[in-house]
Point group: C2
Chain length 394, copies 2
């Protein structure tokens, strides 16, 4: 921390407020003693700052006995009656969660799309109803914001969904429509970009700054951290991993091109190759994997085939980004757990590098909730950034 | 610029020295008046700083008549008797250049590999001899450093070449061997990473912060700027674009995998498809393009095929990075100039985004010299970063 000066005192106080709130939000209840040490400030300054966060209604302080010597210390606890609403618009279903400051999921509901349709007006209405139900069940809580994840490219400036081929959305003003419907501001981002954020804050990528998050359901989303910062590209569309051509022989993709990676490793490819009906989502994928393990030849061949294509795509990503860790979500995580050896074998068919030594590959720790948790973090961002600007009305 | 304080004066002076030297190195001779304005400092401070750079032997000051009103101003001129040696180790040839502070190429020589071999000891000896010839022809100049570009993945920590499949190098201590042979320190980096740096400082990517540089000769190198910073990845190996699988039908690549992008768009692929002998480099590629334009069917088909695969690979890169600009070098630039329409058509076969509107695609402005100029910038970096530490001996 820089030494306080006449000019910088106010900025410094804000930076310290932010640092304390972010610490307890990310790591949970923290003693003043630990905060004092981490922030390099003296005890009275920490006391004044936590007092301010208390008066803003963002934390409580509890006297707790901490450590072996039984010395009591003030424990700074995030108040989870400060909530955000997180939304994850999937191809098969919509998930809405109420998440408290500190990251706890307090309520969570999912629903299939209305009449199975992706029409943006229907989706907005379904999401809005689910949010209203969630909020009316959570009285006496202060809602700090709404964050949404969508499986497509989102324009950073205004939340316009530029393209989400698996929803059939092109230039859909989803964010604006939802905000108007609810009469509240909404922040929207790409689901995989939010997934990598969540895994970095609370999941399998904690402590890493070069991260590739790859998650498949019907399509594949990619989210990246480069030097600890989210990869956005010029307009927020970076990370579209699903449409690398990997197979010149097809099949044709929803995007119009042929042989895209997501046509070789999505849920429905696996189900189809195993002779199952498509559309069953993660439980259907789990059934195929279980059948493969029980000896069903067609299921085993399907898992093996998808595992091989997983390895091919992951290799391209590792060669491009040289990440410390590759975090796999959705169907990729299921296939990885079932057929790690086959994925690695395919991955290593090139002598380019010694990737198993240099790169950690692992499943998402937040499971299929990474984008949902990331959407909550997106909604918390303004408050974490300016705690003093938190709305005082409930 | 922050206000000087007791603690920061020395740091501030260094930052300002650095800013002035970088400005004149990048933009050439600059008046004190412009420096005063750009840096937000007063005239006497600028005078003291340029005086210090003069006494370090890095700049001279000339009195020049500048602007319409004929008012004389001190022109701060980089002294190009401060030189670096830049090396570009290609698959077909080695290039060595003497580059002055300010970026002028003062001497440039190329040579085929000794007996056509890539044995690292032979390459080191060839490079060392070329450097010695260059330096002995440049007496009375102060050599500030040596930078080298290689077509492979280079470990950031010590310059070890981890893999350069087109040279057949795996874990070759090229940097250490060359430094020992010359008795001088050497800095080495991936050729495309240096290419993007050079194009950003002096070429087609000036003013952009999200840049993809793709250059093909025998293989394809990729160098990226993300948020204005070079993409390095965890250990400096990022940007290996040549080994994305784009064709499941092969052919087998030198890296051991099949259907890698560089097997579809390198110089030799184009030559082979056109029925020419491989190994002729850019002039041979130019001949095929000229023949195609003159109506030779086989040459035209070869150009068309490579253009199509160019578009497929560029699309993957644009979807992943959402760059502002894609700068093409080597064979990719030749094909782009000859068959832009075909490349764009292939690029746009996916409806994912409106890439022609969002992304500029253009040839490298430094031609095939981008990596060489980038190697010079690599060698200048320590001096630009700490002008006051410049060696005073010639």
């Amino acid at each position: 921390m820089p030494t306080p000066t006449g000019v910088g005192t106010e900025e410094l106080r804000r930076a310290n407020l932010r640092a304390i709130l972010q610490t307890v939000h990310t790591h949970g209840p923290t003693t003043r003693a630990v905060l004092t040490k981490q922030l390099g400030l003296n005890r009275s300054t920490i006391g004044a700052l936590t007092g301010e966060l208390q008066s803003l209604g963002l934390v409580t302080e509890q006297t707790a006995v901490v450590g072996g010597r039984g010395r009591p210390s003030h424990l700074v606890v995030p108040r989870e009656d400060n909530v955000v609403v997180a939304v994850d618009v999937g191809v098969d279903r919509i998930a809405v969660a109420l998440v408290g400051l500190g990251g706890e999921v307090l309520d969570r509901r999912t629903r299939g799309h209305q009449r199975g349709e992706h029409d943006v007006a229907h989706v907005v209405e379904s999401v809005a109803q689910m949010i209203e139900e969630t909020l009316s069940a959570s009285q006496h809580r202060r809602c700090l914001g709404i964050g949404a994840a969508v499986p497509g490219a989102v324009r950073a400036s205004d939340g316009l969904v530029r393209f989400a081929p698996n929803l059939g959305w092109y230039d859909e003003p989803f964010t604006e429509l939802l905000a108007t419907r609810l009469g509240r501001p909404v922040s929207t981002a790409n689901d995989a970009n939010l997934g990598v954020l969540a895994e970095h804050i609370r999941g399998a990528a904690v402590g890493y700054s070069e991260v590739a998050y790859l998650s498949a359901s019907v399509g594949i989303g990619g989210g990246f951290l480069v030097g600890g910062r989210p990869l956005t590209g010029a307009r927020g569309y970076a990370g579209e991993v699903g449409h690398m051509q990997v197979d010149s022989q097809g099949p044709e993709c929803r995007c119009g091109a042929i042989g895209c990676w997501e046509m070789k490793v999505g849920e429905n490819v696996l189900l189809q190759n195993a002779g199952r009906l498509t559309g069953g989502g993660p439980p259907a994928v789990a059934e195929v994997i279980a059948s493969a393990e029980a000896g069903e030849a067609r299921a085993a061949a399907a898992v093996d085939g998808v595992a091989e294509w997983c390895g091919i795509g992951i290799r391209a990503i590792v060669n491009l980004f040289n990440p410390e860790v590759v975090v796999l979500g959705g169907c990729l995580a299921q296939v990885w757990r079932a057929a790690e050896t086959r994925v690695v074998e395919s991955f290593e068919s090139s002598s380019l590098m010694s990737p198993r030594a240099d790169t950690v590959i692992r499943s998402a720790r937040l499971g299929d909730d990474s984008p949902l948790i990331g959407a909550a973090e997106l909604a918390f961002e303004p408050v974490l950034d300016r705690p003093q600007a938190v709305p005082q009305a409930v």
